[in-house]
């Protein structure tokens, strides 16, 4: 059942990508989707059959993405101002950020969100905290990132 859905999803993606609907070409696409899933299943048997479990609430995630877009816009503007100002005042600092996500995926989303907003880059991932480098560190940054942390944690399904 799962494999059938995967084949269908891959085939739909292939149709979107190709845009040519001759019977031969479409049949080749379907065959390649099936072969793909067959190979992956064989690899599951040979290797550790590790699956990516997506524990995310879709509605919360969309809300979070909207919020993230606004944050990215704000951060972009801040970094642009630093780049274009003649003095280039910056206060770079490496600091620790606690994360409260339970799943690996949640942690990856949080770390990538930090990196995606210009001005902050997640540098190192440890068991209970990240090392984050900021371009213009202010005292409010820790609270802002803690807020982001809480928002990412809210998108996780239990």
């Amino acid at each position: 059942m799962r494999s059938l859905l995967t084949v269908l999803a891959l085939f739909a993606l292939w149709l979107l990508m190709s845009g040519i609907y001759k019977p031969l070409i479409v049949a080749l696409g379907l065959i390649s989707a099936i072969v793909c899933v067959w190979v992956v299943r064989r690899m599951d048997d040979a290797a550790d059959s590790e699956r990516l479990v997506v524990n995310i609430k879709p509605v919360e995630m969309i809300k979070y993405l909207g919020w993230l877009m606004v944050e990215i816009a704000k951060a972009n503007w801040a970094v642009t101002k630093v780049i274009l100002s003649p003095k280039m005042q910056m206060n770079s600092k490496l600091f620790r950020v606690q994360h409260t996500q339970k799943t690996d995926l949640g942690q990856a989303i949080f770390a990538n969100s930090i990196t995606l907003t210009p001005g902050t880059v997640s540098v190192e991932v440890e068991r209970d905290h990240f090392l984050v480098h900021a371009l213009c560190y202010t005292d409010g940054d820790t609270a802002a990132i803690a807020d982001m942390d809480a928002r990412v944690t809210k998108t996780e399904a239990a």
């Binding site: 990508m17 877009m69 970094v79 780049i83 990538n112 990196t115 995606l116 210009p118 090392l131």
Partner: protein, 111 residues
């Protein structure tokens, strides 16, 4: 209607291009590795998102738009991941061009 879309799409494309140039300018102007990393991420996020949005408006409801959105999704995930890889490599090889940053927090010896 099509005039409005045209104008909007060119505003998006031009501002995206401007942010890409600003990011490049920042990578040249900034003094050390870490701040340059931040400047490059302006190109990465604002430049990429605005350019792709403008191109989506140009192509309208076609397969090209689907492909552009897919490119955007992939860049949204792979961009920060590769930035993190570069930053982590710099941390591991102990690049601290900014001595203040090095004193501030590079005391962790466990990396």
């Amino acid at each position: 209607m099509s005039v409005i879309i045209e104008i909007l799409s060119w505003i998006l494309i031009l501002s995206g291009g401007a942010f890409a140039i600003i990011g490049a300018l920042g990578s040249l102007r900034f003094p050390d590795f870490w701040s340059r990393l931040h400047a490059a991420s302006v190109t990465d996020s604002a430049g990429m998102i605005l350019l792709l949005a403008g191109l989506c408006l140009q192509s309208g409801f076609t397969l090209i738009t689907v492909k552009l959105i897919l490119i955007g999704v992939f860049l949204f995930i792979t961009g920060p991941t590769s930035t993190h890889a570069v930053a982590n490599a710099a941390l591991v090889s102990k690049i601290f061009a900014n001595p203040k940053a090095a004193k501030g927090s590079a005391k962790k010896g466990d990396t």
